[in-house]
Symmetry: C2
Subunit: 339 residues, 2 copies
């Protein structure tokens, strides 16, 4: 199995992608990792490591798409960017998965344009795993599709259900629709239509859920439009950061609280690990005809290593075959009977 990694994407590229690649190459010896980007820069960074794992190779790409560039333009104009070159490798079957911590919009646009969608899938959706009190919840979509149709959310539910079953290994995942209240009939016309459509799917649809349910861990899959999902995700990141900053400030106020913080260090470390996005690695862009993983822009080496783990598990579990089957089974089920 070969996985291409955008070596130039992310806030701390190329250092973090390369660090993650080296860690993953050592942990997953059955995976060949192709670092995509400026060959000279990558070679130089790799030479800083005591030894270079034999399962790391380089694919040169002369351009880099910046984090703030307009996605559509960048993908069209920078044909030799690391995102485009990596996705070309995926399209040509040279690799089985592609990972980028770079410009999310560009990664989504290029994945869709170059590799295309799985048969039957109308739009891809970013499926992110979020920590919760009772376990993780997969939220889909968090920004690939900010103006979806109800059918897109139905397909996100079908794909999210299959992802939970076949990659995360959960039986009969609970699927909820993100709304402003739990009662049937709540929400906008779009939400009400989506609710009705979700009831026609052969998955365990538990109805409307609210923002309250995202971090409870009571629901396995929550589907939403990419605008609300993006807002929810970034709001959560913002609050986690604010709590951490305010707590550090409060803990440093007196000698007593500083001693307390020192003694409680293990507990803080445990909490950090439990809610750390880096443990979860990357968010698959479900619906793409090839495994494409969106990693967080702030990805550390550990996060990249885990994104490679997610890509590897997605390939090994034949995720896309299951997605195609789920979407096809729904089409079959709703097709009018032959006369």
């Amino acid at each position: 199995m070969k996985i291409a990694l955008d070596a130039m994407g992310g806030d701390s590229a190329p250092e973090s992608p390369i660090a993650g690649a080296v860690r993953a190459a050592r942990e997953f010896e059955d995976v060949g990792i192709v670092l995509v980007g400026l060959k000279d820069v990558i070679e130089e960074k790799l030479s800083g490591y005591p030894s270079r794992p034999p399962n790391i190779s380089i694919a040169h790409a002369s351009e880099t798409i910046g984090m703030d560039e307009s996605p559509a333009n960048a993908v069209r104009k920078k044909r030799d960017s690391s995102i485009n070159v990596g996705l070309d490798l995926l399209k040509q079957g040279e690799v089985q998965a592609f990972i980028s911590a770079g410009n999310t919009g560009a990664a989504v646009a290029a994945s869709t344009l170059k590799v295309g969608l799985l048969p039957g899938v109308e739009r891809p959706g970013i499926a992110i795993q979020l920590p919760g009190v009772k376990g993780d919840t997969t939220l889909i979509d968090v920004g690939a599709n900010i103006n979806p149709k109800p059918m897109h959310l139905l397909q996100y539910a079908l794909m999210g259900d299959a992802y939970c079953r076949y990659v995360l290994g959960r039986a009969n995942p609970k699927v909820g629709l993100l709304n402003v209240g739990e009662e049937e009939g709540k929400g906008t016309e779009f939400i009400k239509e989506t609710y009705d459509l979700l009831q026609t799917g052969k998955f365990n649809f538990i109805g409307n859920v609210e923002g309250h349910d995202i971090f409870s861990g009571e629901v396995d899959v929550i589907v939403c439009d990419g605008f609300a999902g993006n807002v929810a995700l970034k709001t959560a990141e913002s609050l986690a950061h604010a709590i951490s900053t305010l707590l550090k400030r409060a803990l440093s106020k007196s000698v007593i609280t500083r001693i307390g913080a020192f003694l409680a260090h293990d507990a803080f470390a445990q909490l950090r690990a439990e809610i750390d996005y880096a443990e979860r690695g990357g968010a698959p862009l479900l619906g793409i005809n090839g495994i494409s993983i969106i990693a967080h822009g702030a990805s550390t080496g550990k996060a990249i290593k885990n994104a490679i783990r997610v890509a590897r598990e997605s390939v090994r579990s034949e995720l896309n075959r299951h997605l195609v089957e789920a979407v096809a089974a729904y089409e079959q089920q709703t097709k009018p009977a032959q006369p």
Copy 2:
């Protein structure tokens, strides 16, 4: 000044509203507090206090709207509910403000139907204050209007700006539009139209902001549609609860971490106070022709006391006069010149 309080609304009603009313009555001796609800029940609860403040009175209402009832139906059918009776008092000028921690949808619907909107205002919006690293941010709307037009968000910006200036006492508040990216041109058609409209207002519009900015405290007012705002608010509550639960669990793991937690107690108390919604009390429903405050369903006595403080400050600062002036000034500014 008189303020009516729904004694029957909220998860721990009537105890918490009554406890909050007693605290507020002692702290704000210039305010008369009218408890609205079942007279016998309120009398009985009040008799449990060592002394009854002279500035507390009761207005009987024979019905109660449940937290999960369909708002529109409940408001129409339960004419003698505490929400309806309290808002009748506001409409008749018997009180200058009304507060409910009950069914939010019912409080919004009844406020709009009974008291009506301020001249020029098209839709009311719930303006909630959220804590941040560098100070509070006011997010409007968090659920009154889930399918708004761009003009509604323009009016939220005008009203949020005036609220910040005249109630919170901030000079030149920064106003942002909640979006999925900061660059101009991001977002749905609705968002793009709203962005253009916001540029025409005479407030300090800083452009698009993201979920990241909600808890940074860098922006004074963030406007959004009520669906995204509601999702953001509930997601944040959910995460704060999850972090608190996971941290408690982690801190109780060993004797050392338990001692650490004991010593760090003051720091946790400070953090709790900083992010405590109860300190902020209630969220004004801006645009109503009278002060109507939405309190959190889980309001404690302290939260209710602070909601009464918010109502008192809104009345004293003549909030609604400022809102009307802000909306009228915009209308004037955009009116075509007379021939």
